[in-house]
């Protein structure tokens, strides 16, 4: 359809931009407020009228976080836990996805349907016994307790299986005739051809683990096991009703939590949006 620049079209476009700008303002102003407050000296954050754009460039809040508070430790903990979880999901889910997509073994479809039904079980059902099992294993307050329950997911297997099913069967047959093992076909053909889907799963797992609160809340007991998200939540909860919270410091902590996620998101935006659209299409 050819769109002519009639006055009607121009007015609708202008109206569209207006809506987008208003919404963009609602989405972005809170983050600008966060950054500018994190740069203010404690006690000067509220002024009249409020300052949304930074007026001070005071980095002492960030120095306090890393020098006087264990945010460096939190950061390393979060990085380690997230990296291990992402790696685990990529390996375990892609192996299972290859099995379900391309190998014919007895009971395969029954087991796969069983996997799919687990996606409908709400987390609060398994949370209590999962915690009790992990504590029976002696994993409370350990890295394995924080990592191992998250290293595989039915969602990841489902996502990768759909993608593996799109690889033409001829590739697999040709490789078999050439004497390739199943492992070789998986490693040399299926993984390289499904890079984008692997990236999608990796980004999803990264976002989910980096910002998870409830599991670290139960498992990380001591200060040196906390993740950034949990450390910030505790720090936020600490002041009592009579004590004014140190907002600039809290905002600086928020910036530290969010920066890596935002950077990964901007780099891998395509995969993330694709993954969400996929998860919507399946339903």
């Amino acid at each position: 359809m050819v769109v002519h620049n009639t006055p009607m079209v121009i007015v609708t476009r202008l109206f569209g931009y207006l809506v987008l700008l208003v919404v963009a303002g609602m989405m972005v102003v809170p983050f600008m407020w966060m950054v500018s407050t994190s740069l203010k000296a404690p006690g000067t954050e509220f002024s009249y009228p409020p300052q949304i754009l930074p007026t001070q460039f005071n980095l002492t809040n960030y120095q306090t976080l890393f020098n006087n508070l264990p945010f460096g430790r939190y950061f390393l903990n979060t990085l380690f836990i997230t990296a291990m979880t992402v790696a685990g999901q990529l390996v375990i889910c892609s192996l299972a996805a290859y099995g379900f997509a391309r190998l014919n073994f007895m009971g395969r479809d029954t087991i796969f349907v069983l996997y799919l039904t687990t996606m409908m079980i709400p987390f609060q059902i398994t949370l209590i016994p999962l915690y009790l099992i992990v504590s029976q294993l002696g994993w409370v307050n350990t890295y394995q307790g924080l990592i191992v329950p998250g290293i595989s997911s039915a969602f990841g297997i489902f996502l990768l299986r759909q993608s593996f099913l799109n690889i033409p069967r001829d590739y697999q047959d040709a490789a078999r005739i050439d004497g390739a093992s199943e492992w070789g076909i998986f490693w040399r053909i299926f993984l390289p051809l499904n890079g984008p889907t692997l990236a999608t799963l990796g980004v999803f797992a990264f976002m989910g683990t980096w910002t998870d609160l409830i599991w670290p809340l139960l498992i990380a007991r001591s200060e040196e096991m906390r993740t950034l998200e949990l450390g910030l939540a505790y720090f936020n909860a600490r002041p009592n009703a009579f004590l004014q919270p140190n907002w600039p410091l809290l905002m600086a902590g928020s910036v530290v939590v969010m920066l890596p996620v935002l950077i990964i998101y901007i780099i891998a935006q395509r995969y993330f949006v694709q993954g969400i659209a996929l998860s919507g299409v399946k339903g």
Binding site: F31, P50, A96, F105, M258, A277
Partner: protein, 333 residues
């Protein structure tokens, strides 16, 4: 099983020019002896290496999902308070009987329902409006999408710290802006009447980008010709929205409503970081209540029973939605 057999016949028939005939006599023996389970398992067409590929995930799902699931069901029939599992007596339906008369639990369930009613329809409508505008092929849409997505990827703790200051009744920006219009804003998160709506608003703000992407995928699957045909017939934009866009978006609407309701009835993190269930238990939602019962009062058996009742409610709501949708489809076609 099927394609492995096919491969072999193709290899054997490599000299033949015609593709293997699908007639049963050519590819299959006339008499197939019935194999028992073990023979089928051990036969050549069963690619047993598949079990090795799924083994890690199978071990994981059994250890961290199936066992907890069974364990949780078993727990809900026990009176398990601290300290040890050995002291947990079997009390039959005792937990469930107590739960029927437990006003605090039902208050928490009704709080969750209130939150869902506030957050899901408004959140879907708001994100649909954005998606409709984004679908107009305006320039710079990618930049806007990136901006709308910032809240989605943000952490709930950081978001709550930001909004706690923005919604501060005295010095917050929101009430400052309302003041410019002569409105004196409420004590958002501090007033039992406005606390839950405030959490719902923040959740709508945070989730709008996510819903928008799914709406957009739905909108882009609607064939453009339908709009052209409607325009030729003299339909205006408003009419084509109600008669074409909305009916054809039904699968997306259904998906967002179902997943939105399931997620909202289980809301936990925003409550934990913004209000801790307060003020006066006005934001004490079901999962937050279960969390407190289990991990602060250490009443694991009763909390498990509560979580199964919540699951039953969520399941019932989902089944009703699926049933309604099926019925509507039957009426339409």
């Amino acid at each position: 099983m099927y394609d492995r057999v096919e491969n072999q016949t193709m290899l054997q028939d490599s000299a033949a020019t015609a593709p293997p005939a699908p007639s049963p006599s050519a590819s299959q023996p006339l008499f197939v002896p019935r194999k028992n389970l073990w023979q089928r398992f051990w036969s050549r067409s069963n690619e047993r290496i598949g079990y090795l590929f799924i083994l890690p995930s199978l071990v994981h799902i059994i250890a961290f999902l199936f066992i907890p699931l069974v364990f949780s069901f078993f727990l809900s029939f026990r009176d398990w308070t601290r300290p040890s599992f050995q002291d947990a007596p079997y009390i039959g339906l005792g937990n469930y009987e107590f739960l029927m008369g437990d006003n605090r639990f039902w208050q928490a369930i009704s709080n969750s329902i209130y939150y869902t009613v506030l957050a899901v329809p408004m959140g879907m409508a708001f994100s649909l409006v954005i998606a409709l505008v984004m679908n107009q092929k305006l320039k710079g849409v990618n930049l806007f999408r990136t901006l709308f997505f910032m809240p989605v990827v943000s952490s709930w703790v950081a978001v709550s710290i930001i909004w706690l200051t923005l919604l501060d009744p005295n010095v917050g920006i929101v009430n400052y802006v309302l003041g410019l219009f002569g409105i004196s804003g409420p004590n958002w998160l501090g007033d039992p009447r406005s606390a839950m709506p405030s959490i719902a608003l923040i959740a709508i703000w945070k989730g709008a980008g996510f819903n928008m992407v799914i709406w957009l995928a739905g909108l882009q699957s609607i064939p453009q010709e339908l709009y052209e045909a409607a325009a030729i017939d003299g339909a205006n934009r408003w009419q084509s929205f109600w008669r074409i866009t909305l009916p054809l978006l039904a699968p997306t609407t259904f998906f967002l409503a179902v997943t939105g309701i399931i997620g909202s009835l289980q809301v936990f993190t925003p409550v934990y970081v913004l209000t801790r269930g307060g003020p006066l238990d006005s934001t004490n939602t079901a999962v937050f209540h279960i969390y407190r019962r289990a991990f602060q009062e250490f009443d694991f058996g009763y909390a498990s029973a509560q979580s199964w009742v919540l699951f039953a409610i969520i399941f019932a709501v989902t089944v009703i939605q699926v049933g309604l949708r099926r019925r509507r489809e039957e009426i339409q076609y």
